[in-house]
Amino acid sequence: MSVTVANDPPVTAPEVRFAQATQLQLTWWRFRRHKLALASLVLVVLFYLVAIFADFLAANDPHATDARRSFIPPQGIHLFDEGGFNPHVYGLKGVRDMRTFKLSYTPDASRKLPVRLFVRGYDYDLLGFIPTSIHLFGIDDAGPGEGVFLFGTDQLGRDLYSRMMVATRVSLSIGLAGVTLSLFLGVLLGGISGLYGGWVDTLIQRLIELLRSVPTIPLWMGLAAALPNTWSVTQVYFAITLIISLIGWTDLARVVRGRFLALREEDFVIAAELAGASQGRIIFRHMLPSFASHVIAATTLALPAMIISETSLSFLGLGLRPPAVSWGILLQDAQNIQVLSGAPWLLLAAVPVTVVILAFNFLGDGLRDAADPYG
């Protein structure tokens, strides 16, 4: 019997690159084509850089209060002075209107406060372990009540810009911590559910339905109210993370279970089983790599939900409590109409929430589309 050999077409260099591309490369090539997702990725990375270097970026101590500088409106930096480059802000003179008892500020053009890069300010630990006092920008030898207030100040005279930097760290990290916990619970319980099936599966699925049927706000209210008053800020932080991820894991568990059920029937998984591969090898070599990308995409899409949860909880006064600083806590200050009419700049804290959530959603969409380069 004659056998015809399949003719191989001449192979070009890009074809070899494609032929030998791993899943990660294929995913990246496809993700790169999604411009909006790519821009979102850059934005998200920037946000996390802010979270890491929050204290370095802050210009004033975010916790320092000063009654003499409450409700200062956002201040612009003047870049040029007498023909030369000399960034500076004017000193402010607070005058109380004796009829309304409101402080109003007038810039004092005779007092120029030079704004410098890498100035010494309040002490902090860079990356959590390098004690320093260098800040990106600020005013050298700031006297009492002096400073750059890019986004203005709140009622207690705390610099909103600096507080937003520090709040970014808390809000973004609480989302990350919540998602990590959800991921762990979701993969574990979803995996057990999909792998073993039967009554275990039924039990876990009914539990998920039960958890999802409970209205979240009252549940969180109840749980948050149960937190002892005496707990420190850190303890409350971790408790809130736990409460948020209590609901968050259910989505991920469903994704993981679905993938397990689908993959169990895949020919290449059956092939491995018929080859005599162990259960462990089948799960870790064949099944997990096949849905890791889906899980990453699902996680990215779960993050904004976590951030929103923290923000709304703290906004309602159920989440973190001052002196902790988070986006929700900053927005709490903007709750009443009196403050809003007098100091609308406090609403600026809503901007990063919106931006980061949109960015995460676009990023998650892009990842989800690129996740399965073979589909």
Binding site: M1, S2, V3, T4, V5, A6, D8, E15, F18, A19, Q20, A21, T22, Q23, L26, E266, D267, F268, I270, A271, A272, E273, L274, A275, G276, A277, S278, R281, R285, H286, P289, S290, P373, Y374
Partner: protein, 332 residues
């Protein structure tokens, strides 16, 4: 001693209904199938979709656990074991003797593994040292006529036919004694089908393979099989040596399947007896002969009495009440 002897194999799926999940019926996917495969022989298992042929093959591979029956497998220099009742744990050391070629060359290769790793995975999980694996990989690539450079590439770089060659190389890696090929060419283009069939023929010659070749029509089977078993609604209706079956089918269903084989000569007018209607529902098979609602030769007896398999003079078996009297059309 035959390599494989399947006796009265049954695989039923219970149908549950209601809150208490009571069993209200059974899908008899495979309902009493018996056949043998001798060493070096290729048996084709043919039937329409849903007749249970894939279920039979999955039972032999113990991807499914049969409801009842025996699957006696006798490896070379080994004792006969009944695969039907073997616990999964004891099945693992036997897996290396029975390997499978899949229908869909796209789904059967893990897209995240390089071709070399895919082919040598059976060797790796069975503890073959790395140096030996590399050597065997080169042998296998040559055997299925793939360039040696394929080993560092991923499956997405290959066409359907090439992927099927990779799948065949993987199935051969452990020197299996029996290969179960589940419609290995149905998903391929006709021109590529010929290449793969030729490759299988070549391998039969060179390696003396024993094979269970599952197919849904009779067109490709003629070239590869020594004997053909035709299945209908969970049962074998006719078994015969390939030539005898094609020349003189004894069961009306076989005749219908043969009539469906496309003729390469456009001028030749076939006496077409393509089966009318749909395949019977294996949950509610018709009484008597399961084929009687679609059979052009039905008599009253067919509607009430189920025919048993009976030996024919040409060395086959057929289950039809009128097998002796009918003159059925075959192909040249």
């Amino acid at each position: 001693m035959n390599l494989l002897e399947v006796q009265d194999l049954q695989k039923h799926y219970p149908i549950h209904a209601g809150l208490l999940r009571r069993e209200v019926g059974r899908v008899r996917a495979v309902d009493g199938v018996s056949f043998q495969i001798a060493r070096g022989e290729t048996l084709a298992l043919v039937g329409e979709s849903g007749c249970g042929k894939t279920t039979v093959s999955r039972c032999i591979l113990r991807a499914l656990t049969p409801t009842s029956g025996a699957i006696r497998f006798t490896p070379e220099n080994g004792r006969a074991v009944d695969l039907a009742t073997l616990p999964k744990r004891q099945m693992r050391p036997l897996r290396r003797h029975i390997q499978m070629i899949f229908q869909d060359p796209y789904a059967s290769l893990n897209p995240r593994m390089m071709v070399g790793d895919i082919i040598t995975e059976p060797l790796k999980v069975n503890g073959v040292p790395a140096a030996e694996r590399r050597e065997r990989l080169m042998e296998l690539l040559e055997l299925v006529q793939m360039p040696p450079g394929s080993r560092t590439r991923f499956p997405h770089a290959f066409s359907g036919g090439q992927r099927q060659r990779i799948g065949i190389a993987r199935a051969l890696a452990l020197h299996p004694q029996l290969i179960v090929a589940d419609e290995p060419v149905s998903a391929l283009d006709v021109s590529v089908q010929a290449q793969i069939i030729n490759l299988l023929l070549d391998l039969q010659d060179r390696l003396g393979l024993s094979m269970l070749f599952v197919a849904h029509d009779l067109s490709v089977v003629r070239h590869v099989s020594d004997r053909v078993a035709v299945m209908y609604v969970g049962r074998i209706v006719e078994v015969a040596p390939t030539d005898a079956l094609y020349r003189a089918p004894r069961h009306p269903y076989t005749e219908a399947l043969l009539a469906a084989v496309p003729a390469p000569d456009p001028n030749r007018q076939h006496r077409r007896r393509v089966a009318q209607g749909e395949v019977a529902d294996p949950a509610r098979p018709p009484p008597g002969c399961a084929f009687h609602p679609r059979c052009p030769y039905t008599v009253d007896r067919c509607r009430t009495e189920r025919p048993e398999l009976a030996a024919t003079e040409s060395g086959g078996w057929v289950s039809c009440h009128r097998a002796r009297e009918l003159e059925l059309a075959g192909v040249r």
